[in-house]
Symmetry: C2
Subunit: 399 residues, 2 copies
């Protein structure tokens, strides 16, 4: 069964080697919607953003988008005016091939920052890649592979929902691995759907979905210069066009959120050097902001990430991170659980079974819950462990 981004009706994809990566691996992806799609995007809020992001932000204003061109191996960031020219040239190359305007093409890049993009390789790659465009499983997988950097595996998700008897499909591919912190936690994320939906509502659904999924993931605390999440809707499913908020919109938005959550968790588990992931849930906070801040402080704390790697129920590091985040709390009311094991209650250690707690932390996925004891607000954050492999990937890799 095709469960890739070519599964929703109306999309063709490809992924080839155009020669940007020293490893010789796939580094150019195309996504084309021959009938035209409405599109929405969410981008990095890093004040330094790539040329690809600058051009993509401009082009996404077009009412109809015909295709997306993505390269890995070079971020085209911190590359000045030349970078903008190169990002536009990427759009032009795909537009020439599918006979449309470059304004109707979206562009994304990922890889090393600050190196001028060898744009000729990309342009000749686009011409070759056109011939590989297909709507089958392999083509979708090739695309998901071509956007990878330090990812160890392609990350994809697929969902179907029904509006009456009409089946609507949503599919996504992401790359992740490093330089990931809210918001945007995505690095690159491409979603296709055959739903018929207006552009403003598609944008709204994407923004909501990303806000409670990809934006809750932190691997190493900083968002990159290139983060981009795009959704393209071909409208070919045959559903009554979603043109107002209401039941259909809610159904679509929820499915999109579930898909993005699935992708975010895959990213956590395939983060650089990660062997497991966790959810930090903070409850009893004085505000939603406090809950978000405290959960992120724990998820980002290297000492705790190491404890997770070692399956060590060292809750002291959790409490230290929470207190250090300067959120409102009552120290004599603070409690902490590892899944269902209470390790700290009302500001005091409990008599828990360390072996059982260690077992909880050795799972592929577990949840830390911290109650601040001052209010009714809660929020969460996804994180992953910190291993020697993270150091190996990022210290031994040379620019």
């Amino acid at each position: 069964m095709n469960n890739t981004i070519t599964a929703p009706k109306g999309f063709l994809a490809s992924g080839i080697v155009c020669g940007l990566k020293r490893s010789g691996k796939k580094d150019l992806g195309l996504l084309v919607c021959p009938t035209g799609a409405v599109a929405a995007g969410v981008f990095t809020t890093n004040k330094i953003y790539s040329a690809a992001v600058a051009v993509c932000k401009k082009n996404i204003r077009s009412a109809i988008i015909d295709g997306v061109v993505v390269n890995s191996g070079n971020a085209n960031a911190c590359t000045g005016l030349q970078g903008i020219k190169d990002a536009n040239a990427m759009c032009q190359a795909l537009a020439d091939q599918i006979e449309t305007s470059p304004k109707k093409i979206l562009v994304a890049s990922t890889g090393i920052i600050g190196h001028i993009l060898p744009v000729k390789k990309v342009i000749t790659g686009v011409a070759r890649s056109i011939k590989c465009l297909a709507s089958n499983h392999d083509a979708g997988l090739d695309f998901a592979t071509a956007i990878m950097t330090t990812d160890t595996r392609p990350k994809q998700a697929f969902k179907q929902i029904k509006f009456g008897k009409t089946l609507v499909s949503i599919a996504g591919a992401v790359k992740g691995a490093g330089m990931i912190g809210p918001n945007m936690a995505t690095t690159l994320c491409f979603i296709t759907t055959d739903a018929a939906i207006t552009k403003p509502l598609l944008a709204r659904a994407l923004s909501q979905a990303v806000g409670s999924s990809l934006n809750r993931l932190t691997v190493d605390g900083h968002q990159s210069t290139n983060d981009t999440a795009l959704v393209l809707a071909s409208g070919l499913a045959g559903n009554k066009k979603i043109a107002a908020t209401g039941k259909d919109f809610s159904t679509f938005a929820l499915a999109l959120k579930d898909l993005c959550t699935d992708l975010a968790k895959q990213m956590a588990l395939d983060a650089e050097g990660a062997t497991r992931m966790f959810t930090v849930r903070v409850t009893g906070a004085a505000s939603k902001e406090d809950a978000a801040k405290a959960s992120r402080a724990v998820a980002d704390y290297p000492l705790f990430k190491c404890a997770v790697h070692g399956s060590d129920p060292n809750w002291g590091r959790i409490i230290c991170a929470v207190g250090s985040s300067q959120v409102k709390l009552k120290s004599e009311k603070v409690s902490c659980k590892l899944d269902n094991i209470v390790v700290f209650k009302n500001g005091r250690p409990t008599d828990f079974n360390p072996k059982k707690a260690s077992k909880v932390m050795s799972q592929k996925e577990f949840t830390i819950t911290i109650d601040l004891g001052v209010g009714k607000y809660s929020d969460f954050c996804y994180g992953c462990d910190l291993s020697r492999e993270y150091i190996a990937i990022n210290a031994d890799y040379h620019t």
Copy 2:
């Protein structure tokens, strides 16, 4: 020559094994000033702080302090009311031995969070340790050793200044290694001086000194529950008592700051797993706060810390961290230097020699300078590299 905390006139110290550490290493330090000292302290701003900090904050209000008792191996943090009783019992134990009030004793603890302190071991240890008190080099070194946790070596500093013909000494011992982030970056720091100075001015000098030294160091981003920096002044040097701001105060304050900077750098170099340290200096910022925020974002960024470990001049990670910190900047004006090598200028990469840049980064100590191009403010932060050893120390260590 004695260059330990017993070097200034009027101080005795000791460091022994009282049995808190499984390793069997020294874990109890005493510092005594038989003639009484004026004292000042700076403490963690973590909202969860140890019982030792709670008791020390109270006792330091006393006009005269007679001694300090410190244990390593147990933080006495998150230990509820029992923790407070135990911290008071530590003060009482030393007070009994030197026949003073427990209110005139300061206390500090460091080690694992959330375990009830085996206080009897400490109390009997204090009685034994009294007999080892001495004012020589070995006694000072024993103290500096007894406060260590994951530190690989004792860290001490010594300075002398002259007021006319009067020689004044200042000495300090710190422990560091992990759970270190502004403010307070110290974990534990003990400073002695024989200067005659009033309590309020001593407090002012300490606060200034710590603010521009120990508080600028980040190892892993979070301050601990136990951070404490104490200074005791015996007044035995014979200088005219410093009772007002002016030349003598400035001389003393500057010497104290230099001493603290020396200690902070030693901590960076002996941070968990660290092989080198760096200074991040941000210039051209719109405000001092922006400069501090941006410098810390770089110093705390795991991806950059890994690049330092690998001597990789991957300045893209520096620029990414700066942009992600959301400070005001002009992207077309941003520049970056590694020591004197310009790697990024006016928002564009330069044609630098990567081998030379890599050599800069392989030094024991180097400076990254980032200009934001928007204002006249600057600030700095100290950091260290991130190595496999950090993971080993913090993932393999079990509670």
